[in-house]
């Protein structure tokens, strides 16, 4: 029983870390219909900024997260203006080509300026200590990741379902021309959504760095994982992403505990099974 509970905690933490990183991609793919394979690259940029701020400048963890999000969004603005705008509404494969190109460029540039070594983001003392939760000890940052995940999920749900912006966003997604005619400034909506998605990628990159360490190849190394998680959840669906992350996190963690040598088999067999049963993902919108 203790073991099961312990595994469950690990699975939940890992699932939530995945969720924070992936939810931004889910929004871009589901709501903006852009297959943004460079999503991980933005998470990585944030990781570098946070590492620089916290390790080299000695700023606090919270400040580092804040700077990373702002910095990454600022970097993404010219990219959105110059490149992404050209591919809204393009065929998916054209988007794939463009965003892979962007990823390659970001990897190359990062490698050139920051070198290929791993970058760490120093945690504040309160998060780096193991915390005793009764049945076992768990790292403080894992609790932090779980909390972040819950806050992000709740906040996004509120934003999309309950606010004026959310209404406009959903209207734009359903019928951009109609929304335009009704006076919604769709370009602005797109730009803001893009910024939100990038901001989430940035947050995920920083708080998830304990699971997925920051290095130049980050952007490609975890691309498959992100894509799989988003699709299994159903692109654009927040509850879907939550369920997918928790379920796949659980399958991954349990598989690796029970039969580590077949860990990947479990994971991908589960993906195939889920996709065959839910071809649109758990909460996928009709195409």
């Amino acid at each position: 029983m203790q073991t099961i509970l312990s595994i469950a905690i690990d699975a939940f933490a890992y699932g939530m870390a995945l969720f924070i990183i992936c939810i931004g991609l889910s929004l871009t793919m589901g709501l903006m219909r852009v297959v943004n394979l460079a999503h991980g690259a933005f998470a990585m940029i944030a990781g570098y900024i946070a590492s620089y701020a916290a390790r080299d400048l000695g700023l606090g963890y919270a400040v580092a997260i804040f700077l990373a999000i702002i910095g990454t969004v600022i970097i993404s603005i010219p990219l959105e203006r110059l490149l992404y705008r050209r591919i809204y509404g393009s065929p998916e494969l054209t988007q794939v080509l463009m965003t892979i190109g962007i990823t390659f460029c970001i990897i190359g540039i990062t490698n050139y300026f920051f070198g290929p070594t791993l970058k760490s983001i120093p945690l504040p003392g309160s998060l780096s200590q193991p915390v005793d939760v009764g049945i076992r000890t768990i790292a403080g940052h894992r609790l932090f990741v779980m909390a972040c995940g819950v806050v992000v999920a709740g906040g996004l749900w509120y934003l999309i379902e309950k606010t004026d912006f959310g209404i406009k966003l959903r209207a734009t997604v359903d019928n951009a021309a109609m929304a335009d005619a009704l006076g919604v400034r769709t370009q602005v909506i797109y730009a803001i959504s893009f910024a939100i998605a990038i901001g989430l990628a940035a947050l995920g990159g920083v708080v998830g760095a304990e699971f997925l360490p920051i290095e130049p190849y980050y952007a490609l190394r975890y691309m498959v994982t992100f894509l799989v998680v988003v699709s299994v959840g159903g692109a654009g669906s927040i509850p879907g992403a939550v369920v997918a992350c928790l379920l796949l996190g659980a399958v991954d963690t349990t598989g690796r505990y029970l039969m580590p040598e077949f860990g990947n088999f479990f994971f991908y067999a589960a993906v195939i099974a889920i996709v065959c049963v839910f071809p649109r993902g758990f909460f996928g919108r009709a195409q």
């Binding site: 065929p91 390659f104 190359g108 894509l227 067999a269 195939i272 195409q287």
Partner: protein, 314 residues
């Protein structure tokens, strides 16, 4: 058949112009076969795949395993690779065709990862991550050795490519090819015409598998080593990038995309082995901005003949 003459001419020109790069050119041909096979299902049937290397790897490992077990005749090895690829195609198609769109793409990723994992696990047969080494291929037709300069391998590969291309040219302009194009655009219409969709697509998967398997076998024969990279997601993703770069739905697009991408990569990585990735990224971005329909699309637009669809929807 002017296209075939063009390919032969370009192939022979490569032979005379770059006699010192034949191993690279042979690899280009092997990958071109992979990209052609992907074009069959993506360009002609609208099924996007990020797992095409499963079929390539099936061919490569089948040929490799046959070779270390005493089957060393190259043409036989290619046949073995093609059959293995076709069987893998049958399996992959059966699974992938259950879903559509993004879910389909994810299935393809899951399949290639499982293939990769299986090849890693079965190290007694595949050599695992150390690679399956020690392939001793007999001379082609008992005469031409696969040697350091790679002439035999290249010309053998070129001949394979031409044969495959001619066959594929036939296939895509056959009623079956037309039916596939119809399915890509509107499967409901095709059903209303009284044709099933699944078996047609599955058939294309098998053909595609045979082509990819041929490429895999060629790679195994010419390299004499089969590595896990031949069943990797990375190779699959590269193949898709090359295809989209060249343009979907024309066999020439697949060839042009492969040659341009690999040639560009080779040149820039030789000039700067450390930071060439940025250049490749820039090339991809530039192509999307200048020619969203791929390079063949750009060519057609320039000629003013092209009113073909931009790229392909998945």
């Amino acid at each position: 058949m002017a296209g075939v003459i063009l390919i032969i001419a370009a192939g022979l020109a490569g032979y005379w112009l770059f006699p010192d790069n034949l191993a690279l050119l042979t690899r280009v041909i092997a990958v071109a076969l992979l990209v052609l096979s992907l074009d069959l299902i993506t360009g002609y049937c609208g099924v996007a795949s990020l797992g095409q290397a499963s079929l390539f790897g099936a061919g490569a490992y089948a040929a490799g395993i046959a070779c270390v077990n005493g089957v060393t005749e190259p043409v036989t090895l290619v046949a073995i690779g093609a059959v293995a690829g076709a069987m893998a195609g049958l399996l992959m198609g059966t699974i992938m065709l259950r879903a559509h769109g993004l879910a389909q793409l994810v299935l393809s990723i899951a399949i290639v990862q499982l293939f990769h994992e299986a090849a890693n696990k079965a190290s007694a047969y595949t050599g695992g991550s150390d690679g399956l080494a020690g392939l001793m291929v007999s001379p082609l037709f008992g005469v031409f050795e696969f040697d350091l300069w790679g002439r035999t391998a290249y010309l053998f590969g070129l001949a394979l490519l031409v044969v495959v291309f001619v066959v594929l040219k036939f296939i895509v302009s056959s009623p079956f090819g037309m039916l596939c194009r119809g399915i890509k655009q509107d499967p409901v219409r095709i059903r209303a015409m009284g044709s099933y969709v699944f078996p047609v697509l599955l058939k294309m998967f098998v053909i595609s598998g045979a082509v990819a398997g041929t490429g895999g076998a060629l790679a195994a024969i010419s390299t004499q080593v089969v590595g896990l990279d031949s069943v990797s997601f990375e190779l699959s993703a590269n193949a898709l990038v090359m295809l989209v770069l060249g343009g979907l739905g024309t066999l020439y697009g697949a060839l042009v995309g492969t040659v341009i991408f690999m040639g560009f990569e080779h040149v820039v990585s030789a000039i700067n082995p450390f930071h060439w990735m940025t250049m490749v990224g820039a090339l991809l971005i530039a192509v999307v901005l200048a020619a969203p329909g791929g390079l063949t699309g750009l060519y057609e637009t320039l000629l003013g003949t092209g009113k073909r669809a931009k790229g392909g929807r998945t």
